[in-house]
Subunit: 679 residues, 3 copies
């Protein structure tokens, strides 16, 4: 991260496509945006052919006029580089720029993101258009910042063009230096996969039962991430060469991309596109489904990248492509709720997607604030209400920091390894979901914390408790850091299948949990996956509470005098065996559960670890989320009601709802989807 | 349609493949056909290699002998052109004739319909074989008509060979003249799809998340239909050049093909292949499933193409390919029932598929009237019974016209647009099914009416009521025609998502329902798709009846003093909002329902619109279909029992069952699958 | 089979990959193997690159050291030829060796079995490596036998490389001599598939609705089987050229491979890889699921290939690839149970897969006896118990023959034809499963008998009863053999859809059951598949027992005075029609059921045919399997408890459990998963 973006107040904005509409509409559109309280307008990110109608011929007139009109009316433009959608002339002339499926089918012109990051032609042509745009707009007073490309790795997150295979070979050569080291890292001696010449090395290819080498597969994802970052860096470097006051970011968050590294190495801050309606339309069959509230986790992960971030696309209506993703309308109140959800989690700038619903193309059902007809509607009114409220609270909140004493740990290596691993891989996301639900429904604010090679004790010490379930890959260095964290007083919670793999994804010749033996005070004696024809075991927690389990079972062998067994399995052939332990270690404690977490177990452990749930200040129903942002000693409490029904809650000490100025004390009613911001 | 085919009496026939059987069997087969009461025999449609064993070498001896034998025994031959199955020598020598998948995989020799309509080689070779056949058989007294190819667009209805891409480019150039107009029509400014050179234009190709441009996709289907028609026309023109008394038709009805245009421009009449067993084997989970009775709707659509038509393949046994489509046997009585189903809906010629079950190839389980063993069976007996009955009633019925006061409107543009549209597209078929069931189960005969660019008020005026649910595409011209229809006294019934798209599939910048604003007397205020996590709203019809809903909800704003709200939503956040209105307009009325029709709602509206259900003449159970054909003032009433159980029904005025001569009055019992034809 | 392998005693062994582990571990590993009671160790089958690091350069040092170390410690090595996994240098240099999907996508390096059997390059290179290995190891005293390749046709059992198409054309030319005969056999006159030149002939290719010619498809499977056998024979011939005392085998059993022919023509005996855990993890929804006990059927089929056989891979822990096949751990006792399951069915050598769980590659979850960590675990203890027991009983049991009076008949032509036939094909496996369950749960030992062109009356006469359900293909020769079998006193049980196809898969122009008319004493009058919308018919057995049915119904016409109707259909439109008959024929009887067998019907017929269920000797619960092996007049009775629960059983005459020496008489308790071997 080369420089820091700070917002002086909360601001709103909107995405606009001047090229889609008759020029006569622009002025009226921009004036209405301003009236609606917007400050930012994002433009340009899919307009390559307008900027460069033929190779090497550039034309900025259309956007010059649009930016100028917006600027005159007081709107600041965020300009997108248009590389997410190469022109027809480009892909037709240079088919090597196309992304290709693993089995060799090229993705053609007709949708978006059909290019690859490693084609020399695409790098050259991208470089040229970004250079021309940066030169042209660097001193334009209407342009305040840049969005690189659009949603890197969205639509598709694997790449198998010739250029990618070639670049991967180079990447592998740089990483491993010798074929012996590559063979060692990928365990190629298994099934005779040994490479004896660099030109035998490819990205994974079609294999007989669709089962390529898993270590190779893990490196492939690292390579994809590096490719995307390097491509974004190429653009950022060009923009920075020509600009001075304009910031550079991009909008995420998609798979096979280390967004933390991307942000640290390339961006001024991170931006996110937030569509909680996905969470409402997916038929979530899980226990106590989160639905749109799942986005609070997504936003927590975004916050782990940029503590204060921007939303570049905030859902503003029902969504759906012509071909898929069909969604109902947000109910009255939900657009406002979702905007505050973003703000509560750290967003200081929120741009709605989009000003007016497209009348053409794949996204005609991805509704904007305005309908096709441009007449007044309830969505505009709701956004205008938010705007007015933001005017009141924007300066107080901006820059304030989200407060959490507990963190759920994420890690790219484990995420990528788990994705490919059907045996142990699915458990991490199940346990994270269970923990997040337990924390949400018990009103315990939580951070995501990304553990990586630059992580240090200072960062970890911020948290009283860290939950890192089912991290298969744990290096000696990571084990050491976690030991130091617990030793100084931290509480660490681990689940089954922890610590058995090294960074190549190969398995240690050690008893589980590998380098975490000392910290956990146990070893794994025996284990099994859940068996379809047998009864599901339970855990007897602290000799009395029966807790249902799922997925996997490890029986634990106590290896330390400081290990206390706090849960034992029952209703199974390993009846009575230890399944859950607490190991006192230095000033802190490590909890190890030989299974997959459930909400119920997480809630029991919440009591055990004594984390602040603000019970002394509030009495809240499950459907209300509690978030706290703090600035200069002042805490701002967000209470968000995700239910469509009226909820009763209690504020135990008098506070002020700064959205209205109203004093609040004791029992009050919060309407369906309503929001309080208390000081 | 160059000339009209009229039948003097109902006739039966059968499909026969002399090339499959030892020549010694032919004479016996033809004699038994004649004895079974058949007049027509269809031959030749898969025999290209027999007619042309190598390129340019023709051989008609086998079929000459077969046709002559048939003719001597009094059978008339319908001759198929054999282009549905190109010879191995042809596809091997000219692989460009093959159809190809969107991702580039050629469909090879080994099944059928693996060619494309636009290959120059295929056009040349098809033209040659059809020319030689037409020359050879034009004056053959045994040959009375021609079937072009076989089941155009069956098996596969998309085409992506090089020849198709090339022809599509040409087609687009002719349609749009300039790239600007093409770009405008396809909305290519969205996602930077703008074409800057004609050689960038292809049929849709593989795109990243399988989501090509929807307007492009709509044109692709128009192109496929035009390609098939042009290919059929090429054959028909050749046949007509050489023949005088022989008619020309083909057998349908498959997707991506404007059968109305095909028939008008190319054929003498339309023929259909009727397999109601599909309806019995598909596990129809819908409310009150139609099963084999669904074919009554298919036959109604066929009738909208040709008021009197032929069945070229009437199911005559259990069906199934070796690899799929496996079906049980028709129960005793069902072959007869299905034959009368065809006749009741307008068929004047019915040919059974096929004489004897194939002993080889993919269709060994597609049973004919005879089993493999050629011994007597119950299917032959049942067909012979039909034959005898047809002798009695054939002259009376032939040429008689099906009677309906209500029409369900179909339209190719909307059908093709809906097929690709997951957001609004699925509703039309749901509502058509609901209306058809309501009409069937209440004994109201119904037509399909195809609305197209040549539709006129005269045609529409034939119907007291028209139901046109969820027509997304409504042009100003169509809106105007519908206005004139209602103004003169018609009743028009519309559903949600009507009128918002133009003929390119782009959305109007207008309040819904677009150009139908004046006619409907409402605008759509707000809308939502059904939300998976919420309770399903109901409609309170006329302040008292609670009707369940599904799929989509539009709240309506009354825009005319003549608009009466007759239904309001309940159990939802738009509680009490108008959802169903009646708008008096001139002498007629337009009904608009802001939702997807159900059988229950359709039945309530049937009362409202007061359509003739023949209650005064009959009292019929649900399982009995009522159809009426009329000729020279005489009405013939078909009563068809689709249940396997005996049904009681009442004939209120004395009538005669012309199948038996029996007088019928008051309550009678109709056996399972039995049929009455009353005069 | 060129020579016979006989075991003097039961022996155990284990699969080991010295190349995966540091050489320092070898000695300890081999010593522990010996201590665990193992005699055999299998090595080398995936190590091509180690043997031949570059083309033509051979290196045997690593395996020489391993074999020598093993030999010194008393272990005998079974050496695998490494052709299941070609080296990277090989597939990179000779891409024509790769297998290819039907649509043309090559399977690349990265997994295993991605080669084809017909590539000339692959044959040449395979021949070279096998020659070098055979030369090198032929007189090595540590090497006792060879495994050719590994699991032929596993992972993938279809092959469409250029080399395969080419070889198939040659194969077809040899088989049919003329195109006329090929066209006749494939019924190409149907749908105009006639070939007019040999270069038009390919293996089946992509067809429009994925429905290639079924007769062509049947030959394709015969060709695949012949290709695999010819490839194995090439290797066996080389090995035999250089060796004298070493036997040759391979490990099966996979689809599209005539393992009987393979064994007769190529191997000394047959080996099998037994993984009963598959049966426990698949969620078997069938009636009274067999789960791991299903492997008793698999082992019976193996026994039909080699009466005494070897298990080269006996499951020794939980299984799973990284990407699929995930399995729970075997419960305590199950490894032992499964070992005795193999032995009870005829295995004289059992090698466990594998010594230690792999720490790298696709099979890191395919656990060996040892865990990654190499520390003691319960699986080692369990295997050691088995070892000790085997010491006690090994000499008695080895070479003993499984005893069965009833056989279920298998036949490759019918299996391959059924696989492709959706209409009648699925019934055979349903009925075999029903019969096998009925026999298992009633403690009737059963053989599989493979009927083929070399079958003779002597072989059939071994069985009192043969069950051959739904054999669509029955030649006149087979019908004749079955007639002679029944005439001399055999009982034959047939199901619906029997005898209607000839060896090309074409249908006879005969009444069903074709050439079996005389033997069955009936003809099929009418038939239907089960109809989804109708009630399921029942059979009234012997005028009193109502038996549920499924799938298919044939009504039977009695054609012989010796035919007795013993079952009639009810609850259907063919009410009262004969569905099950017994036809006295010579000294025996033929039973024909016009339907698909269920357990219930099979159990009723078991009473009828009076087969020995050892009721006089034992009273056993369903969960216990009874198997008997006999040698030199002595019978050894295996009682295997597949339940995890204690079972009560009765031994009516005193016997000795030779595992413990304990006398057993009257009621005893058998623990969950426990095993008795009684003499």
């Amino acid at each position: 991260m080369t420089k820091k973006w700070t917002a002086e107040k909360l601001t709103l904005g909107v995405c606009y496509y001047p090229e889609h509409w008759s020029e006569e509409l622009w002025e009226d559109d921009f004036r209405r945006m301003k009236e609606a309280g917007f400050t930012y307008v994002r433009m340009g990110e899919f307009a390559w052919t307008i900027f460069e109608p033929e190779e090497g011929v550039y034309s900025f007139a259309l956007f010059d006029r649009a930016i100028e009109k917006a600027h005159k009316l007081g709107l600041k433009t965020v300009l997108g580089t248009p590389t997410a959608t190469p022109p027809a002339w480009l892909t037709h002339k240079y088919p090597d720029v196309l992304n290709v499926s693993q089995s060799g089918i090229a993705y053609q012109h007709g949708a978006r993101r059909h290019y690859n990051y490693n084609s020399e032609n695409y790098r050259r042509l991208s470089s040229a258009i970004v250079t021309e745009m940066a030169k042209h707009y660097s001193y334009n007073p209407g342009v305040v910042g840049w969005q690189i490309d659009n949603e890197l790795n969205c639509e598709i997150d694997v790449f198998y063009s010739e250029a990618d295979h070639f670049a991967f070979r180079k990447w592998a050569k740089e990483k491993y230096q010798t074929l012996d080291q590559l063979n060692e890292a990928w365990g190629t001696v298994f099934w005779n996969q040994t490479y004896t010449s660099w030109d035998q090395v490819y990205l994974t290819r079609t294999t007989v039962p669709n089962s390529p080498n898993p270590h190779h597969m893990l490196d492939e994802k690292r390579f994809i991430s590096d490719s995307a970052i390097s491509y974004a860096k190429m653009q950022a470097d060009i923009i920075r060469k020509y600009t001075s006051n304009q910031w550079v970011t991009t909008n995420g968050m998609f798979k096979h991309l280390d967004n933390h590294k991307l942000t640290n190495e390339v961006l001024d801050f991170y931006a996110y596109d937030s569509y909680p309606n996905f969470g409402r339309v997916l038929e979530d069959k899980s226990d106590k489904p989160l639905r749109d509230r799942k986005w609070s986790w997504n936003l927590s992960v975004v916050r782990s990248i940029s503590p204060n971030f921007a939303i570049f696309e905030q859902q503003s209506g029902p969504g759906g492509w012509v071909t898929r993703l069909e969604q109902p309308s947000p109910n009255p109140g939900q657009l406002r709720l979702w905007t505050y959800q973003s703000i509560a989690h750290g967003a200081d700038l929120v741009m709605y997607f989009r000003w007016r619903t497209a009348t053409k193309g794949t996204e005609i059902y991805w509704h904007g604030i305005n309908d096709y007809h441009n007449l007044p509607n309830r969505r505009i009114k709701e956004v205008e209400q938010v705007s007015k409220e933001i005017q009141l609270i924007g300066e107080k909140i901006a820059g304030a920091t989200y407060q959490a004493e507990i963190a759920i740990v994420t890690n790219y290596d484990n995420e990528w390894d788990a994705e490919f691993d059907k045996w142990s891989g699915p458990f991490a996301s199940l346990s994270i979901e269970a923990w997040f639900k337990a924390l949400q429904y018990n009103h315990v604010p939580v951070d995501a914390y990304n553990l990586n090679r630059t992580s240090n004790l200072e960062e970890l010490k911020k948290y009283k408790v860290m939950v890192y379930p089912h991290a298969a890959i744990v290096s000696e260095q990571t084990a050491n850091l976690l030991e130091r964290y617990v030793k100084q007083g931290g509480k660490l919670i681990l689940g089954c299948r922890t610590g058995y793999k090294d960074e190549t994804g190969q398995v240690y010749m050690k008893a589980f949990p590998g380098y975490l033996a000392a910290l956990t005070g146990i070893s794994v004696e025996d284990f099994t996956r859940e068996a379809p024809f047998e009864t599901t075991p339970i855990v007897i927690y602290k000799d009395k509470t029966e807790i249902k389990t799922r997925g996997f079972y490890e029986t634990l062998k106590v290896e330390s005098k400081d290990t206390e067994v706090i849960g034992r399995f029952s209703d199974c052939y390993f009846e009575g065996k230890p399944g859950l332990v607490k190991h006192q270690f230095g000033e802190g404690a490590c909890y190890y559960f030989g299974g997959v977490f459930t909400i119920e177990l997480a809630e029991n452990l919440l009591e055990e670890i004594q984390i602040n749930n603000y019970n002394n200040k509030f009495d809240l129903p499950e459907s209300v989320e509690l978030s706290i942002r703090k600035k200069e000693g002042k805490a701002f409490v967000f209470l968000l009601n995700y239910s469509h029904e009226m909820q009763e809650l209690e504020v135990k000490e008098e506070m002020t709802n700064i959205l209205t100025g109203e004093k609040i004390h004791q029992k009050i009613q919060l309407k369906g989807y309503d929001v309080l911001v208390l000081e």
